[in-house]
Symmetry: D2
Subunit: 353 residues, 4 copies
């Protein structure tokens, strides 16, 4: 639509699309609105649309992904997220955001320590698993509902936003009530029923790349969410499965520029799962920022040796603080900002005794 198109003109185009038996999707950009059309088989005639008031162009999308593609919406999508404390952040723009915290919420003490560390560091989003999908039925499956409550309490005390994984449709209402961003885990990237279900919540979705998902399947998984009504999807590269065994997964950073080339949605990187060993998290976090990621997800634990899950890949608070300091100049070198406070060592030790 023209950047001056008004709501009435937009509504008329949508009505015309529905009359034809198809589905319109209004996609709001910074200074103009795009209207995606799905449900058609084969190409549509452009003429009926070009003649309507407020329409400036009609583009045929040749990729299997439509609503998430840059062909439909050329400018970057910036996702605004606000928590109940009134803290608002934007993902997808010039400011980088970190989502940090433990793999699993384990206790009130643990999550509070991390929350204070993040707060003091200027990190705005806390991660922590409550419902954990685990390869073994005998492994720790998370504190579940109790974990959600501990997360929310810690977040409310500190004003942080919360991202946590949605394991299934059964736990989705509870997760949505206790968090600000709904995370779809790698093993659920093609759980299409769950993708449809999260689309019906008014919360942004952090979509992790499947263990062996192609970039096209990654885009199509986002298309499921957007075409079902939720335009706020954040991609997350977290490593793919290859033959290499020296790292837990192979972090595919080329996913960042490729997704940014093909889609208007933001993408962040999770180097902790990508490499699986804390020694390599910092260099890969720096690389992720350098190649253009809109943010990072990092596992931090006050005492990795005793973590109930993913200890080997979690950073100690001191290492995390040191990483924040190192990331700032790289962010600036690529034209981004990372608004964090670089604490000194004494401070970080105090926060996580």
């Amino acid at each position: 639509m023209d950047s001056h198109a008004n709501q009435e003109q937009i509504d008329l185009v949508c009505a015309r699309v529905r009359e034809m038996g198809f589905k319109p999707h209004v996609i709001a950009g910074e200074d103009r609105v795009a209207i995606g059309i799905t449900g058609n088989k084969g190409a549509l005639d452009k003429e009926p649309f070009l003649s309507m008031s407020g329409v400036i162009d009609a583009v045929r999308v040749t990729k299997p992904y439509k609503l998430v593609s840059r062909e439909v919406k050329p400018d970057d999508t910036i996702i605004k997220i606000k928590n109940s404390n009134g803290v608002e952040i934007k993902i997808g723009g010039d400011e980088l955001h970190l989502m940090a915290g433990p793999c699993s919420v384990e206790s009130e003490t643990q999550i509070n320590e991390i929350a204070h560390l993040l707060k003091a560091s200027g990190v705005k989003i806390m991660r922590g698993g409550a419902f954990k999908p685990r390869t073994s039925p005998y492994a720790f499956q998370g504190l579940k509902q109790k974990g959600l409550e501990l997360l929310k309490e810690a977040a409310e005390k500190t004003g942080l936003l919360v991202v946590t994984e949605v394991k299934d449709t059964e736990s989705l209402p509870a997760v949505a009530e206790h968090s600000d961003i709904l995370q779809i885990g790698a093993r659920n990237m093609q759980n299409f029923s769950l993708l449809e279900a999260v689309a019906h919540y008014n919360k942004p979705v952090l979509l992790k790349r499947g263990l062996a998902a192609t970039m096209e399947e990654f885009l199509m998984a986002a298309e499921y969410i957007v075409s079902n009504g939720n335009p706020n999807v954040i991609f997350c590269e977290r490593g793919i499965r290859t033959y290499e065994t020296y790292t837990r997964n192979t972090l595919d950073l080329s996913c960042v520029p490729v997704i940014q080339h093909l889609s208007h949605l933001p993408i962040i990187v999770d180097p902790s799962h990508g490499v699986g060993m804390w020694e390599y998290v910092a260099p890969m976090a720096k690389a992720a920022v350098a190649c253009g990621a809109h943010g990072l997800m990092i596992e931090v634990h006050p005492n990795p040796a005793e973590a109930l899950s993913d200890g080997p890949q979690s950073l100690k608070p001191k290492k995390f603080i040191s990483l924040l300091r190192d990331l700032k100049p790289i962010a600036e070198a690529v034209g981004k900002r990372l608004n964090v406070n670089v604490l000194n060592e004494t401070k970080s030790l105090e926060l996580c005794a």
Copy 2:
């Protein structure tokens, strides 16, 4: 337990396990019963069990999979399946079974044609998708409830058993009502909530290997189902994702002897998804039988060129009949039986006009 152990002795062992705070799993073999114990952290002392009446040995299982392992139950599990018409088959023994039919149920005519073809051929189990997980939200998602009903009607007329995919927990009750075997698709192999849910139904589960699942993860997925109460799991190798593009997936037939070495549960092979092109289905089906598979799942469609999904990998009835004829001597060469009727060409053309 001793092969002469009585129910009282079994119950006493289970009671002792529960007293210790763990969970007993009674696993019935051909001539003896094994009792798996889960819920312990670290090794248990064998003495308390060895001194109980009816117990002949206590084995520590060192693999992450326990109940599905040969260490717990050395003899093959043979799964009996009976449908509402009273037809009973056994999977896991000397008789091979085929599960055949279209990728998706598309119409009453289509599924009835296939059902009559299978019936006339002596094939006992019909496959057909009703709830279809698809990479694209815009692709045909199956006839859903209507598809289930068509499947069941066709099966009841012919006395066939039905296997169809369970896409999610929401559709599980309906699928369980209309089918004899619950199929977990490749994309759901690590949908742990769904694995737990199917475990609560009294139906065998056909568990497909995930797109990039290791054999260990495959065994662990079965362990989820068995440890939640359903001992009747049939593995299904259907190809894994590799760099090769001349085939849809890479059918990993070595999975058959490896799984048979490590587990007592049966394993079948789906060459149709494994290779993705009908030309290669027959040779790979033969190879699967030769390396010891307990059965095959094969896509057959009266008119592949017009199939709504997976046409390129579906056999025409004539090719399917010809494959049945070719499989019989291979089955016999490896000490198995394939009780099918080899129809002549005229007959197969009549059945699928």
Copy 3:
């Protein structure tokens, strides 16, 4: 060319091709000759050829592989191999051939024991490594020249044919002098200089698939050999690299029907390297025969526990004899013959004491 075309007609076509600045390749089939043309950029005009005497058709090959393709030569290539004892075999027809023996030649006693076992079993081709490419510079690199001599002596005493690996162009003349089939190992599949070098010897080449080679690259590697003048290439599938760790490699048996569909050249399978553990060699060997392989390469060692390389995947003589017995009916079930003698256990123990 027409099946009645005479040498003069063939020569005229070749001369015409050369006049145009291209390269003719005469490819002899069972009852007709094909002439491949390479060196052209873009499509050639068919007319000048169709008007020549003895030519019946001109086909444009659209694949990157030309001389090895079925488009150029529709009927199977059958490769005749004769050793200095006058023993002749054919690979690519109805008779299956086994190439068996140790990973490495280790001693005169070892190779003689195996040679007698093979001779008594009716196996015609002995394998054994003399120049061994090894991942570590500190691992046993083979007996080199001495190994070649031991192989040849053992072969001459028994009338067996010999296949052994050519590690580099330096050792090629010696290997060619001591063997009947030149093996290109997986790590050398894209050592293009070596491919060109073996093309200049008048010996068939056994070309192993690279560790992570696509089927197209596999075909192109054969194209290097054929286009440089040696039409006698035998493909060998030996497993590809995937993320799976329960097997050494992932044996991609679908390579057999795919290569047979696309190329006229024969293909055999090496299940020993494919799976890496002797327990799984027999089932995969059976599967290879069932899906249409023209032969097998199997590692056999009188005492695997003391083998200097690849012990875990080598069969003991007794297991090997038992495999031969089991393969015969499968070969027959797919319309092939396996002319081996099934020895009894006592006999095999005598041969490899």
Copy 4:
């Protein structure tokens, strides 16, 4: 050895090692010398060495790679390279180095244009293929000897150093005569005979990671070169083969910190081959510098659309200049230096008209 150990003490230790029947390898560090021992089977007794004058410690290396490991030599190896013009550079220290130029040398004009662009930009090392290993026997195989001569002439006029690929042992003497760094291509990473051959030249070796090589195999390939007498190996990550098709390969940047953790040798990154499309070269080059690479290899071509090989992944001069400008601040952010001149657009257009 002690940092004050003199040559005599070093020689005595080497003599003792040889007396024992093993092989000593003198590895010179910044301020001390290490002596690696190979040829032993099983662990050696430390005592005989610890009692020798000048020895301060004896360490048992438990990894399969020894001489390339940090266990043998904890401090970074810095490789000095000097060309015939007297220009000297160091790879492995604080200064980053770029190796840039076309995939293939195509003409005198082309290579001279690039040489002047590099010279003006301050880049010290020119790349360019003369002997090209190609998947197809019908593809352009490089200008061969003529290409080497053009490279050397262009380098001599400008004072640049040259790196070019060694395709086989036959062309090795000519390549060594015309270049300053010997490149081993990905397909030759496990061509062990070639690795041994380059070890006998007094030139540094740029070792590219194989298409599907594990990091352990990568280290072992370097071990072949070092154990055969050439300590100057530079690793080069260039992408590995995965199932992903949106990029040519999957650039595995985690290889950089892992190799740096395990080995003392330098590692650079080739993002051009890693991603295969010029759009993604710049972000991945930045990421490589951010995660600690000691240098980059980048394909630049005056006219990518007409390149005889790898056009799609080559940068135009203008894009290359722009990348140099962007890399400088990232290098500084990770404590490195990139001594290049950032030309303006007019200048770069003049240089490559």
